[in-house]
Protein backbone atom coordinates (compact mmCIF):
# COMPACT_ATOMS: atom_id res chain seq x y z
CA UNK A 1 0.00 0.00 0.00
CA UNK A 2 2.64 2.41 1.13
CA UNK A 3 4.90 1.37 -1.72
CA UNK A 4 2.23 1.97 -4.29
CA UNK A 5 1.47 5.44 -2.88
CA UNK A 6 5.12 6.23 -3.01
CA UNK A 7 5.39 5.00 -6.58
CA UNK A 8 2.34 7.03 -7.47
CA UNK A 9 3.83 10.17 -5.92
CA UNK A 10 7.05 9.55 -7.80
CA UNK A 11 5.21 9.11 -11.05
CA UNK A 12 3.32 12.32 -10.45
CA UNK A 13 6.48 14.21 -9.68
CA UNK A 14 8.03 12.80 -12.82
CA UNK A 15 5.07 13.79 -14.91
CA UNK A 16 5.13 17.27 -13.44
CA UNK A 17 8.83 17.55 -14.20
CA UNK A 18 8.16 16.37 -17.75
CA UNK A 19 5.45 18.94 -18.14
CA UNK A 20 7.67 21.64 -16.80
CA UNK A 21 10.42 20.51 -19.13
CA UNK A 22 8.15 20.53 -22.13
CA UNK A 23 6.83 23.94 -21.13
CA UNK A 24 10.38 25.14 -20.83
CA UNK A 25 11.19 23.62 -24.18
CA UNK A 26 8.20 25.30 -25.79
CA UNK A 27 9.18 28.60 -24.21
CA UNK A 28 12.69 28.16 -25.51
CA UNK A 29 11.34 27.45 -28.97
CA UNK A 30 9.06 30.46 -28.80
CA UNK A 31 12.00 32.62 -27.80
CA UNK A 32 14.19 31.15 -30.50
CA UNK A 33 11.60 31.68 -33.23
CA UNK A 34 10.12 34.91 -31.91
CA UNK A 35 10.87 36.74 -35.16
CA UNK A 36 8.95 34.14 -37.14
CA UNK A 37 6.05 34.37 -34.70
CA UNK A 38 6.03 38.15 -34.92
CA UNK A 39 5.95 37.96 -38.70
CA UNK A 40 2.63 36.12 -38.58
CA UNK A 41 1.00 38.81 -36.44
CA UNK A 42 -0.43 41.09 -39.17
CA UNK A 43 -2.20 38.20 -40.88
CA UNK A 44 -3.37 36.69 -37.59
CA UNK A 45 -4.79 40.06 -36.60
CA UNK A 46 -6.41 40.61 -39.98
CA UNK A 47 -8.09 37.21 -40.03
CA UNK A 48 -9.28 37.81 -36.47
CA UNK A 49 -10.95 41.08 -37.39
CA UNK A 50 -12.12 40.30 -40.89
CA UNK A 51 -13.11 36.64 -40.49
CA UNK A 52 -13.44 35.62 -36.84
CA UNK A 53 -15.18 38.65 -35.34
CA UNK A 54 -18.04 38.43 -37.88
CA UNK A 55 -18.41 34.74 -36.99
CA UNK A 56 -19.42 35.79 -33.49
CA UNK A 57 -21.77 38.21 -35.21
CA UNK A 58 -24.00 35.31 -36.26
CA UNK A 59 -25.79 35.85 -32.91
CA UNK A 60 -27.47 38.79 -34.67
CA UNK A 61 -29.70 36.26 -36.41
CA UNK A 62 -31.12 35.27 -33.02
CA UNK A 63 -31.69 38.80 -31.79
CA UNK A 64 -34.02 41.68 -32.35
CA UNK A 65 -31.33 44.25 -33.05
CA UNK A 66 -31.84 47.82 -32.03
CA UNK A 67 -28.92 50.16 -32.13
CA UNK A 68 -29.65 51.87 -28.83
CA UNK A 69 -28.80 48.65 -26.98
CA UNK A 70 -26.05 47.51 -29.34
CA UNK A 71 -25.57 43.95 -30.53
CA UNK A 72 -24.84 42.49 -27.11
CA UNK A 73 -27.61 44.36 -25.34
CA UNK A 74 -30.38 43.62 -27.83
CA UNK A 75 -33.12 41.20 -26.91
CA UNK A 76 -32.80 37.48 -27.70
CA UNK A 77 -35.70 36.22 -29.79
CA UNK A 78 -34.57 32.69 -30.54
CA UNK A 79 -35.52 31.41 -33.97
CA UNK A 80 -38.13 34.11 -34.69
CA UNK A 81 -36.09 35.62 -37.55
CA UNK A 82 -35.84 32.22 -39.19
CA UNK A 83 -39.56 31.65 -38.69
CA UNK A 84 -40.34 34.93 -40.47
CA UNK A 85 -37.88 34.11 -43.23
CA UNK A 86 -39.24 30.64 -43.93
CA UNK A 87 -42.85 31.83 -43.76
CA UNK A 88 -42.29 34.06 -46.79
CA UNK A 89 -42.25 32.61 -50.28
CA UNK A 90 -38.83 34.27 -50.67
CA UNK A 91 -37.04 31.55 -48.73
CA UNK A 92 -38.27 28.91 -51.16
CA UNK A 93 -37.58 30.99 -54.25
CA UNK A 94 -34.03 31.99 -53.32
CA UNK A 95 -33.11 28.47 -52.27
CA UNK A 96 -34.60 27.00 -55.46
CA UNK A 97 -32.89 29.57 -57.69
CA UNK A 98 -29.51 29.20 -56.01
CA UNK A 99 -29.59 25.41 -56.18
CA UNK A 100 -31.04 25.00 -59.67
CA UNK A 101 -28.72 27.54 -61.28
CA UNK A 102 -25.71 25.99 -59.60
CA UNK A 103 -26.65 22.47 -60.67
CA UNK A 104 -27.07 23.58 -64.28
CA UNK A 105 -23.83 25.58 -64.16
CA UNK A 106 -21.84 22.68 -62.72
CA UNK A 107 -23.04 20.15 -65.29
CA UNK A 108 -22.82 22.42 -68.30
CA UNK A 109 -19.46 23.98 -67.40
CA UNK A 110 -17.86 20.61 -66.67
CA UNK A 111 -19.01 18.95 -69.88
CA UNK A 112 -18.13 21.93 -72.07
CA UNK A 113 -14.76 22.51 -70.40
CA UNK A 114 -13.71 18.89 -70.85
CA UNK A 115 -14.80 18.87 -74.50
CA UNK A 116 -12.99 22.13 -75.24
CA UNK A 117 -9.86 21.02 -73.39
CA UNK A 118 -9.68 17.80 -75.42
CA UNK A 119 -10.06 19.75 -78.65
CA UNK A 120 -7.50 22.37 -77.64
CA UNK A 121 -5.01 19.62 -76.81
CA UNK A 122 -5.58 17.89 -80.15
CA UNK A 123 -4.99 20.97 -82.29
CA UNK A 124 -1.64 20.28 -83.91
CA UNK A 125 -0.75 23.87 -84.72
CA UNK A 126 0.66 25.21 -81.43
CA UNK A 127 0.25 28.87 -82.33
CA UNK A 128 -3.43 28.43 -83.18
CA UNK A 129 -3.98 26.49 -79.97
CA UNK A 130 -2.19 29.14 -77.86
CA UNK A 131 -4.23 31.93 -79.43
CA UNK A 132 -7.49 30.16 -78.63
CA UNK A 133 -6.32 29.59 -75.05
CA UNK A 134 -5.54 33.26 -74.52
CA UNK A 135 -8.77 34.48 -76.02
CA UNK A 136 -11.15 32.17 -74.16
CA UNK A 137 -9.63 33.37 -70.86
CA UNK A 138 -10.46 37.02 -71.61
CA UNK A 139 -13.96 36.92 -70.05
CA UNK A 140 -12.51 35.52 -66.83
CA UNK A 141 -10.39 38.65 -66.50
CA UNK A 142 -13.08 41.30 -66.29
CA UNK A 143 -15.43 42.38 -63.53
CA UNK A 144 -19.14 41.64 -63.44
CA UNK A 145 -19.84 45.35 -63.87
CA UNK A 146 -18.19 45.21 -67.28
CA UNK A 147 -20.08 42.00 -68.03
CA UNK A 148 -23.23 43.99 -67.30
CA UNK A 149 -22.20 46.48 -70.02
CA UNK A 150 -21.45 43.73 -72.51
CA UNK A 151 -24.82 42.07 -71.90
CA UNK A 152 -26.56 45.43 -72.19
CA UNK A 153 -24.87 46.05 -75.53
CA UNK A 154 -26.31 42.74 -76.70
CA UNK A 155 -29.77 42.94 -75.14
CA UNK A 156 -30.75 46.60 -74.84
CA UNK A 157 -34.33 46.79 -76.12
CA UNK A 158 -33.81 49.74 -78.47
CA UNK A 159 -30.11 49.66 -79.23
CA UNK A 160 -29.03 46.11 -78.46
CA UNK A 161 -27.35 43.90 -81.03
CA UNK A 162 -29.88 41.09 -80.61
CA UNK A 163 -32.94 43.16 -81.38
CA UNK A 164 -31.31 45.20 -84.13
CA UNK A 165 -29.10 42.77 -85.96
CA UNK A 166 -29.69 39.14 -85.00
CA UNK A 167 -33.44 38.71 -84.49
CA UNK A 168 -34.36 40.41 -87.83
CA UNK A 169 -32.30 37.73 -89.60
CA UNK A 170 -34.76 35.16 -88.30
CA UNK A 171 -37.75 37.39 -88.83
CA UNK A 172 -38.43 37.70 -85.12
CA UNK A 173 -39.68 41.00 -83.71
CA UNK A 174 -38.11 42.92 -80.83
CA UNK A 175 -37.98 41.21 -77.46
CA UNK A 176 -37.96 43.33 -74.32
CA UNK A 177 -35.27 41.29 -72.62
CA UNK A 178 -35.14 43.20 -69.38
CA UNK A 179 -38.82 42.78 -68.59
CA UNK A 180 -39.58 39.15 -69.47
CA UNK A 181 -38.53 36.59 -66.90
CA UNK A 182 -38.69 33.57 -69.23
CA UNK A 183 -35.43 34.44 -71.01
CA UNK A 184 -33.27 34.93 -67.96
CA UNK A 185 -32.54 31.36 -66.95
CA UNK A 186 -30.97 30.98 -70.40
CA UNK A 187 -29.23 34.35 -70.42
CA UNK A 188 -27.67 33.83 -67.00
CA UNK A 189 -26.55 30.33 -67.94
CA UNK A 190 -24.98 31.55 -71.17
CA UNK A 191 -23.23 34.42 -69.38
CA UNK A 192 -21.94 32.01 -66.73
CA UNK A 193 -20.58 29.65 -69.39
CA UNK A 194 -19.09 32.57 -71.29
CA UNK A 195 -17.27 33.84 -68.20
CA UNK A 196 -16.31 30.60 -66.49
CA UNK A 197 -15.66 27.87 -69.03
CA UNK A 198 -12.32 29.25 -70.21
CA UNK A 199 -10.86 28.97 -66.74
CA UNK A 200 -12.13 25.43 -66.14
CA UNK A 201 -10.97 24.43 -69.61
CA UNK A 202 -7.39 25.58 -68.91
CA UNK A 203 -7.33 23.51 -65.72
CA UNK A 204 -8.50 20.38 -67.51
CA UNK A 205 -6.11 21.10 -70.37
CA UNK A 206 -3.21 21.12 -67.88
CA UNK A 207 -4.40 17.72 -66.63
CA UNK A 208 -4.61 16.34 -70.16
CA UNK A 209 -1.14 17.63 -71.05
CA UNK A 210 0.15 15.71 -68.04
CA UNK A 211 -1.02 12.36 -69.47
CA UNK A 212 1.80 10.12 -70.70
CA UNK A 213 1.84 10.08 -74.54
CA UNK A 214 2.74 6.37 -74.57
CA UNK A 215 -0.84 5.42 -73.72
CA UNK A 216 -2.05 7.06 -76.92
CA UNK A 217 0.76 5.59 -79.01
CA UNK A 218 -0.06 2.08 -77.77
CA UNK A 219 -3.76 2.66 -78.40
CA UNK A 220 -3.11 3.90 -81.94
CA UNK A 221 -1.02 0.79 -82.70
CA UNK A 222 -3.90 -1.33 -81.44
CA UNK A 223 -6.14 0.50 -83.86
CA UNK A 224 -8.22 2.41 -81.32
CA UNK A 225 -10.31 5.20 -82.82
CA UNK A 226 -10.11 8.79 -81.61
CA UNK A 227 -13.39 8.43 -79.76
CA UNK A 228 -12.24 5.20 -78.07
CA UNK A 229 -9.03 6.90 -76.96
CA UNK A 230 -10.95 9.76 -75.43
CA UNK A 231 -13.33 7.42 -73.63
CA UNK A 232 -10.78 4.91 -72.39
CA UNK A 233 -7.66 7.03 -71.79
CA UNK A 234 -8.30 10.76 -71.51
CA UNK A 235 -11.50 10.76 -69.46
CA UNK A 236 -10.41 8.16 -66.87
CA UNK A 237 -7.03 9.84 -66.39
CA UNK A 238 -8.43 13.33 -65.80
CA UNK A 239 -11.22 12.08 -63.54
CA UNK A 240 -9.33 12.93 -60.31
CA UNK A 241 -9.05 16.60 -61.29
CA UNK A 242 -12.62 16.70 -62.57
CA UNK A 243 -13.99 15.19 -59.39
CA UNK A 244 -12.03 17.62 -57.22
CA UNK A 245 -13.26 20.64 -59.17
CA UNK A 246 -16.81 19.33 -59.17
CA UNK A 247 -16.85 18.54 -55.48
CA UNK A 248 -15.45 21.99 -54.72
CA UNK A 249 -18.29 23.45 -56.76
CA UNK A 250 -20.83 21.27 -54.94
CA UNK A 251 -19.41 22.51 -51.64
CA UNK A 252 -20.31 26.02 -52.81
CA UNK A 253 -23.69 25.12 -54.22
CA UNK A 254 -25.43 27.30 -51.64
CA UNK A 255 -23.45 30.36 -52.71
CA UNK A 256 -24.02 32.28 -55.90
CA UNK A 257 -22.06 34.87 -57.81
CA UNK A 258 -23.61 38.08 -56.51
CA UNK A 259 -22.45 40.06 -59.53
CA UNK A 260 -23.99 37.65 -62.02
CA UNK A 261 -27.41 37.78 -60.41
CA UNK A 262 -27.38 41.46 -59.45
CA UNK A 263 -25.37 43.36 -62.09
CA UNK A 264 -26.14 41.41 -65.22
CA UNK A 265 -29.96 41.75 -64.91
CA UNK A 266 -29.31 45.40 -63.91
CA UNK A 267 -31.03 44.92 -60.53
CA UNK A 268 -34.39 44.79 -62.29
CA UNK A 269 -37.38 44.23 -60.02
CA UNK A 270 -39.62 42.34 -62.47
CA UNK A 271 -36.89 39.80 -63.10
CA UNK A 272 -36.45 38.95 -59.44
CA UNK A 273 -38.49 35.71 -59.46
CA UNK A 274 -35.78 34.18 -61.64
CA UNK A 275 -32.75 36.24 -60.59
CA UNK A 276 -33.05 36.40 -56.81
CA UNK A 277 -30.59 34.11 -55.04
CA UNK A 278 -29.55 33.85 -51.40
CA UNK A 279 -26.70 36.32 -51.91
CA UNK A 280 -28.80 38.96 -53.64
CA UNK A 281 -31.56 38.48 -51.05
CA UNK A 282 -29.14 39.05 -48.16
CA UNK A 283 -27.78 42.14 -49.86
CA UNK A 284 -31.18 43.65 -50.65
CA UNK A 285 -32.58 42.86 -47.20
CA UNK A 286 -29.60 44.56 -45.59
CA UNK A 287 -28.85 47.56 -47.82
CA UNK A 288 -32.19 48.35 -49.46
CA UNK A 289 -34.64 47.38 -46.72
CA UNK A 290 -32.38 47.65 -43.69
CA UNK A 291 -33.95 44.47 -42.33
CA UNK A 292 -31.16 43.08 -40.18
CA UNK A 293 -33.19 40.18 -38.80
CA UNK A 294 -34.20 38.66 -42.13
CA UNK A 295 -30.92 39.30 -43.83
CA UNK A 296 -28.76 37.87 -41.05
CA UNK A 297 -31.06 34.85 -40.76
CA UNK A 298 -30.70 34.20 -44.50
CA UNK A 299 -26.95 34.73 -44.24
CA UNK A 300 -26.57 32.25 -41.39
CA UNK A 301 -28.81 29.75 -43.18
CA UNK A 302 -26.45 29.98 -46.15
CA UNK A 303 -23.23 29.80 -44.13
CA UNK A 304 -24.40 26.85 -42.02
CA UNK A 305 -25.69 24.74 -44.92
CA UNK A 306 -22.63 25.74 -46.94
CA UNK A 307 -20.33 24.63 -44.12
CA UNK A 308 -22.04 21.25 -43.88
CA UNK A 309 -21.81 20.82 -47.66
CA UNK A 310 -18.06 21.55 -47.65
CA UNK A 311 -17.54 18.96 -44.91
CA UNK A 312 -19.66 16.39 -46.74
CA UNK A 313 -17.95 16.93 -50.08
CA UNK A 314 -14.54 16.77 -48.45
CA UNK A 315 -15.55 13.55 -46.71
CA UNK A 316 -16.43 12.07 -50.10
CA UNK A 317 -13.12 13.15 -51.69
CA UNK A 318 -11.28 11.79 -48.68
CA UNK A 319 -12.93 8.41 -49.11
CA UNK A 320 -12.14 8.28 -52.81
CA UNK A 321 -8.58 9.45 -52.63
CA UNK A 322 -7.17 11.09 -49.52
CA UNK A 323 -4.42 12.88 -51.49
CA UNK A 324 -7.07 14.99 -53.14
CA UNK A 325 -8.96 15.93 -50.00
CA UNK A 326 -8.85 19.44 -48.63
CA UNK A 327 -8.22 18.33 -45.05
Amino acid sequence: MEASTKAYAERRAEAAADRAASWKQLLRRVRKYRTLLLMTLPAVLYFFINNYLPMFGVVIAFKNINFADGILGSEWIGFKNFEYLFKTSDAYIITRNTLLYNIVFIILNTVLAIALAIMLNDIKNRIVSRTFQSLILLPYLISMVIVGYLVLAMLDVEKGYMNNSILPLFGIGDISWYSETKHWPFILTIVNVWKGVGYLCIIYLAAIIGIDQEYYEAATIDGASKWQQIRSITIPLITPVVSIMTLLAIGRIFYSDFGLFYQVPLNTGVLMPVTNTIDTYVYRALITMGDLGMSSAAGLYQAAVGFVLVLVSNYIVNKKNSDNALF
Binding site: P42, P54, M55, F67, L135, G160, S165, W194, G259, A303
Partner: protein, 295 residues
Protein backbone atom coordinates in the same frame (compact mmCIF):
# COMPACT_ATOMS: atom_id res chain seq x y z
CA UNK B 1 -5.00 10.29 -92.95
CA UNK B 2 -8.11 11.71 -94.55
CA UNK B 3 -10.14 11.40 -91.32
CA UNK B 4 -7.26 12.92 -89.37
CA UNK B 5 -7.29 16.05 -91.47
CA UNK B 6 -11.04 16.19 -91.23
CA UNK B 7 -10.77 15.91 -87.45
CA UNK B 8 -8.21 18.75 -87.31
CA UNK B 9 -10.43 20.89 -89.47
CA UNK B 10 -13.45 20.06 -87.32
CA UNK B 11 -11.90 20.89 -83.96
CA UNK B 12 -10.34 24.10 -85.24
CA UNK B 13 -13.71 25.13 -86.61
CA UNK B 14 -15.49 24.43 -83.30
CA UNK B 15 -12.79 26.17 -81.25
CA UNK B 16 -12.92 29.14 -83.58
CA UNK B 17 -16.68 29.38 -83.09
CA UNK B 18 -16.33 29.25 -79.31
CA UNK B 19 -13.51 31.79 -79.32
CA UNK B 20 -15.60 34.17 -81.41
CA UNK B 21 -18.41 33.72 -78.91
CA UNK B 22 -15.99 34.74 -76.12
CA UNK B 23 -14.53 37.73 -77.95
CA UNK B 24 -17.59 39.04 -79.77
CA UNK B 25 -19.06 41.15 -76.92
CA UNK B 26 -15.72 42.89 -76.41
CA UNK B 27 -15.57 43.84 -80.08
CA UNK B 28 -19.16 45.06 -79.98
CA UNK B 29 -18.45 47.20 -76.92
CA UNK B 30 -15.39 48.70 -78.57
CA UNK B 31 -17.24 49.43 -81.81
CA UNK B 32 -20.16 50.95 -79.94
CA UNK B 33 -17.80 53.36 -78.20
CA UNK B 34 -16.55 54.47 -81.61
CA UNK B 35 -19.96 54.91 -83.22
CA UNK B 36 -21.64 58.23 -83.81
CA UNK B 37 -24.27 58.61 -81.10
CA UNK B 38 -27.08 59.52 -83.50
CA UNK B 39 -26.46 56.34 -85.40
CA UNK B 40 -26.76 54.32 -82.17
CA UNK B 41 -30.08 55.99 -81.40
CA UNK B 42 -31.27 55.31 -84.94
CA UNK B 43 -30.12 51.75 -85.52
CA UNK B 44 -28.49 50.39 -82.38
CA UNK B 45 -24.99 49.17 -81.62
CA UNK B 46 -23.23 47.87 -84.71
CA UNK B 47 -20.22 45.68 -85.17
CA UNK B 48 -18.95 47.97 -87.90
CA UNK B 49 -20.14 51.54 -87.49
CA UNK B 50 -21.33 53.44 -90.53
CA UNK B 51 -20.40 56.73 -88.99
CA UNK B 52 -17.17 56.39 -87.13
CA UNK B 53 -16.77 58.94 -84.34
CA UNK B 54 -14.35 59.75 -81.55
CA UNK B 55 -16.89 62.09 -80.00
CA UNK B 56 -17.43 59.91 -76.91
CA UNK B 57 -13.75 59.86 -76.08
CA UNK B 58 -13.47 63.59 -76.73
CA UNK B 59 -16.30 64.37 -74.31
CA UNK B 60 -14.77 62.09 -71.76
CA UNK B 61 -11.41 63.77 -72.12
CA UNK B 62 -12.99 67.22 -71.73
CA UNK B 63 -15.12 66.21 -68.75
CA UNK B 64 -12.59 63.96 -67.23
CA UNK B 65 -12.56 65.13 -63.58
CA UNK B 66 -14.77 62.31 -62.28
CA UNK B 67 -13.18 59.67 -64.43
CA UNK B 68 -9.64 60.73 -63.60
CA UNK B 69 -10.39 60.79 -59.89
CA UNK B 70 -11.95 57.33 -60.04
CA UNK B 71 -9.05 56.04 -62.07
CA UNK B 72 -6.67 57.50 -59.52
CA UNK B 73 -8.57 55.84 -56.69
CA UNK B 74 -8.54 52.48 -58.47
CA UNK B 75 -4.80 52.71 -59.09
CA UNK B 76 -4.07 53.82 -55.53
CA UNK B 77 -6.25 51.08 -54.04
CA UNK B 78 -4.82 48.43 -56.37
CA UNK B 79 -1.19 49.32 -55.67
CA UNK B 80 -1.62 49.72 -51.90
CA UNK B 81 -3.83 46.68 -51.53
CA UNK B 82 -1.59 44.44 -53.62
CA UNK B 83 1.60 45.52 -51.85
CA UNK B 84 0.13 45.23 -48.35
CA UNK B 85 -1.71 42.02 -49.13
CA UNK B 86 1.37 40.33 -50.54
CA UNK B 87 3.52 41.42 -47.61
CA UNK B 88 1.02 40.09 -45.08
CA UNK B 89 0.53 36.85 -47.00
CA UNK B 90 4.23 36.14 -47.46
CA UNK B 91 4.97 36.99 -43.83
CA UNK B 92 2.49 34.44 -42.52
CA UNK B 93 3.11 31.82 -45.22
CA UNK B 94 6.86 31.62 -44.66
CA UNK B 95 6.79 30.75 -40.92
CA UNK B 96 4.02 28.25 -41.66
CA UNK B 97 6.34 26.51 -44.10
CA UNK B 98 9.09 26.07 -41.46
CA UNK B 99 8.77 22.67 -39.80
CA UNK B 100 10.37 23.70 -36.49
CA UNK B 101 8.12 26.71 -36.01
CA UNK B 102 6.08 26.55 -32.77
CA UNK B 103 2.24 26.57 -33.03
CA UNK B 104 2.57 25.68 -36.70
CA UNK B 105 -0.46 23.40 -36.85
CA UNK B 106 -2.65 25.70 -34.81
CA UNK B 107 -1.79 28.51 -37.19
CA UNK B 108 -2.54 26.37 -40.23
CA UNK B 109 -5.96 25.54 -38.83
CA UNK B 110 -6.60 29.17 -37.93
CA UNK B 111 -5.93 30.22 -41.52
CA UNK B 112 -7.73 27.29 -43.07
CA UNK B 113 -10.92 27.64 -41.06
CA UNK B 114 -11.52 31.10 -42.58
CA UNK B 115 -12.05 29.28 -45.88
CA UNK B 116 -14.73 26.99 -44.47
CA UNK B 117 -17.03 29.23 -42.55
CA UNK B 118 -17.86 32.90 -42.56
CA UNK B 119 -20.11 35.15 -40.57
CA UNK B 120 -21.79 36.48 -43.68
CA UNK B 121 -22.52 39.93 -44.99
CA UNK B 122 -24.53 41.36 -42.10
CA UNK B 123 -22.03 40.98 -39.23
CA UNK B 124 -19.19 42.03 -41.54
CA UNK B 125 -21.08 45.09 -42.68
CA UNK B 126 -21.98 46.10 -39.12
CA UNK B 127 -18.41 45.55 -37.97
CA UNK B 128 -16.92 47.80 -40.62
CA UNK B 129 -19.58 50.49 -40.52
CA UNK B 130 -20.60 50.67 -36.84
CA UNK B 131 -17.44 49.67 -35.04
CA UNK B 132 -14.77 50.88 -37.44
CA UNK B 133 -16.61 53.67 -39.20
CA UNK B 134 -15.19 52.78 -42.60
CA UNK B 135 -18.18 54.11 -44.52
CA UNK B 136 -17.02 56.45 -47.28
CA UNK B 137 -13.30 56.03 -46.73
CA UNK B 138 -10.58 54.62 -48.93
CA UNK B 139 -9.89 51.96 -46.31
CA UNK B 140 -13.31 50.48 -47.08
CA UNK B 141 -12.05 49.74 -50.58
CA UNK B 142 -8.87 48.06 -49.34
CA UNK B 143 -9.52 46.22 -46.09
CA UNK B 144 -12.86 44.39 -45.95
CA UNK B 145 -12.61 40.90 -47.37
CA UNK B 146 -9.78 41.51 -49.81
CA UNK B 147 -6.51 42.12 -47.98
CA UNK B 148 -5.66 38.51 -47.20
CA UNK B 149 -7.31 35.18 -47.80
CA UNK B 150 -6.58 31.65 -46.73
CA UNK B 151 -6.23 30.41 -50.27
CA UNK B 152 -3.29 32.68 -51.18
CA UNK B 153 -1.61 31.93 -47.85
CA UNK B 154 -1.79 28.19 -48.48
CA UNK B 155 -0.62 28.65 -52.07
CA UNK B 156 2.50 30.50 -50.89
CA UNK B 157 3.15 28.20 -47.95
CA UNK B 158 3.09 25.19 -50.27
CA UNK B 159 5.55 26.86 -52.61
CA UNK B 160 7.94 27.85 -49.78
CA UNK B 161 7.79 24.36 -48.27
CA UNK B 162 8.42 22.65 -51.60
CA UNK B 163 10.98 24.91 -53.25
CA UNK B 164 13.17 26.44 -50.55
CA UNK B 165 15.67 23.76 -49.47
CA UNK B 166 16.23 23.51 -45.73
CA UNK B 167 19.97 23.67 -46.30
CA UNK B 168 19.72 27.14 -47.79
CA UNK B 169 18.05 28.45 -44.65
CA UNK B 170 20.53 26.64 -42.42
CA UNK B 171 23.49 28.05 -44.30
CA UNK B 172 21.98 31.46 -43.70
CA UNK B 173 21.93 30.70 -39.96
CA UNK B 174 25.57 29.59 -40.07
CA UNK B 175 26.54 32.83 -41.74
CA UNK B 176 24.94 34.55 -38.76
CA UNK B 177 21.96 36.00 -40.62
CA UNK B 178 18.84 36.80 -38.61
CA UNK B 179 15.41 35.40 -39.53
CA UNK B 180 14.32 38.65 -41.08
CA UNK B 181 17.42 38.82 -43.24
CA UNK B 182 17.01 35.21 -44.35
CA UNK B 183 13.41 35.90 -45.32
CA UNK B 184 14.17 39.03 -47.32
CA UNK B 185 17.52 38.17 -48.84
CA UNK B 186 17.20 34.43 -49.43
CA UNK B 187 13.62 33.19 -49.37
CA UNK B 188 11.86 35.95 -51.29
CA UNK B 189 14.31 36.13 -54.20
CA UNK B 190 13.97 32.35 -54.62
CA UNK B 191 10.18 32.62 -54.74
CA UNK B 192 9.60 34.99 -57.65
CA UNK B 193 7.22 32.63 -59.53
CA UNK B 194 4.75 32.36 -56.68
CA UNK B 195 5.10 36.05 -55.82
CA UNK B 196 4.31 36.97 -59.42
CA UNK B 197 1.29 34.68 -59.47
CA UNK B 198 -0.19 35.85 -56.19
CA UNK B 199 0.65 39.47 -56.99
CA UNK B 200 -1.20 39.15 -60.26
CA UNK B 201 -4.27 37.69 -58.56
CA UNK B 202 -4.26 40.54 -56.05
CA UNK B 203 -3.95 43.11 -58.84
CA UNK B 204 -6.87 41.67 -60.80
CA UNK B 205 -8.96 41.30 -57.65
CA UNK B 206 -8.43 44.91 -56.53
CA UNK B 207 -8.79 46.35 -60.01
CA UNK B 208 -12.08 44.53 -60.56
CA UNK B 209 -13.60 44.95 -57.13
CA UNK B 210 -16.87 46.82 -57.03
CA UNK B 211 -18.61 45.06 -54.15
CA UNK B 212 -16.87 46.95 -51.34
CA UNK B 213 -17.62 50.20 -53.10
CA UNK B 214 -21.24 49.18 -53.56
CA UNK B 215 -21.87 48.54 -49.88
CA UNK B 216 -19.48 50.90 -48.09
CA UNK B 217 -19.25 53.93 -50.38
CA UNK B 218 -22.09 56.31 -51.18
CA UNK B 219 -20.14 59.48 -51.88
CA UNK B 220 -18.96 60.07 -55.40
CA UNK B 221 -15.49 61.27 -54.50
CA UNK B 222 -14.55 57.81 -53.20
CA UNK B 223 -15.84 55.88 -56.22
CA UNK B 224 -13.37 53.56 -57.87
CA UNK B 225 -13.63 53.23 -61.64
CA UNK B 226 -15.73 50.08 -61.19
CA UNK B 227 -18.16 51.89 -58.91
CA UNK B 228 -18.45 54.78 -61.31
CA UNK B 229 -19.13 52.33 -64.13
CA UNK B 230 -21.61 50.53 -61.94
CA UNK B 231 -23.57 53.70 -61.21
CA UNK B 232 -23.67 54.65 -64.87
CA UNK B 233 -24.73 51.15 -65.89
CA UNK B 234 -27.67 51.08 -63.51
CA UNK B 235 -28.57 54.69 -64.10
CA UNK B 236 -27.71 56.52 -67.30
CA UNK B 237 -29.11 59.70 -65.80
CA UNK B 238 -26.22 59.68 -63.37
CA UNK B 239 -23.82 60.37 -66.22
CA UNK B 240 -26.05 63.18 -67.49
CA UNK B 241 -26.56 64.80 -64.08
CA UNK B 242 -22.89 64.68 -63.37
CA UNK B 243 -21.94 66.35 -66.57
CA UNK B 244 -24.56 69.00 -65.89
CA UNK B 245 -23.19 69.63 -62.43
CA UNK B 246 -19.85 70.36 -63.91
CA UNK B 247 -21.42 73.55 -65.21
CA UNK B 248 -21.16 72.97 -68.90
CA UNK B 249 -24.65 74.29 -69.59
CA UNK B 250 -27.85 72.65 -70.72
CA UNK B 251 -27.42 72.87 -74.48
CA UNK B 252 -24.18 70.95 -74.27
CA UNK B 253 -25.78 68.27 -72.14
CA UNK B 254 -28.51 67.82 -74.71
CA UNK B 255 -25.88 66.95 -77.28
CA UNK B 256 -24.05 64.62 -74.96
CA UNK B 257 -23.26 61.32 -76.75
CA UNK B 258 -24.63 59.35 -73.80
CA UNK B 259 -24.79 55.88 -75.33
CA UNK B 260 -21.40 55.79 -76.95
CA UNK B 261 -19.91 57.58 -73.95
CA UNK B 262 -21.20 54.93 -71.60
CA UNK B 263 -19.59 52.23 -73.72
CA UNK B 264 -16.39 54.24 -74.00
CA UNK B 265 -16.16 54.39 -70.22
CA UNK B 266 -16.45 50.63 -70.01
CA UNK B 267 -13.67 50.38 -72.58
CA UNK B 268 -11.29 52.48 -70.51
CA UNK B 269 -12.23 50.34 -67.51
CA UNK B 270 -10.90 47.19 -69.15
CA UNK B 271 -8.11 48.50 -71.38
CA UNK B 272 -5.37 48.46 -68.70
CA UNK B 273 -5.97 44.79 -67.84
CA UNK B 274 -6.34 43.67 -71.45
CA UNK B 275 -3.26 45.62 -72.52
CA UNK B 276 -1.17 44.03 -69.78
CA UNK B 277 -2.63 40.56 -70.36
CA UNK B 278 -0.01 39.25 -72.84
CA UNK B 279 2.75 40.10 -70.36
CA UNK B 280 1.25 38.35 -67.37
CA UNK B 281 -0.55 35.54 -69.18
CA UNK B 282 2.14 33.00 -68.31
CA UNK B 283 1.76 33.56 -64.56
CA UNK B 284 -1.99 33.82 -64.84
CA UNK B 285 -2.36 30.38 -66.42
CA UNK B 286 0.16 28.95 -63.98
CA UNK B 287 -1.72 30.39 -61.03
CA UNK B 288 -5.02 29.00 -62.25
CA UNK B 289 -3.60 25.52 -62.64
CA UNK B 290 -1.79 25.53 -59.25
CA UNK B 291 -5.06 26.69 -57.77
CA UNK B 292 -6.82 23.64 -59.13
CA UNK B 293 -4.34 21.18 -57.70
CA UNK B 294 -4.16 22.73 -54.26
CA UNK B 295 -7.85 23.49 -54.19
Amino acid sequence: MQTNRLYQFGIIFIMLAFTLFCVFPFVLLFSASLTNDLEIVRSGYKLIPNEFSLEAYRYMWNNSTDIMRSYGITILVTVTGTAAGMAITAMVAYPMSRKEMPFRNALAFYVFFTMLFNGGLVPTYLLYTNYFDFKNTLLALILPGLLANGFYVILMRTFFAASIPKEVIESGYIDGAKEWKIFCAIVLPLSLPVLATVGLFYTIMYWNDWFNGLIYVTEKQYFSIQNLLNRILLDLQFLQNNTQQMGKGAELVAKLPLDSMRMAMAVIGIVPLIAAYPFFQKYFVKGLTIGAVKG
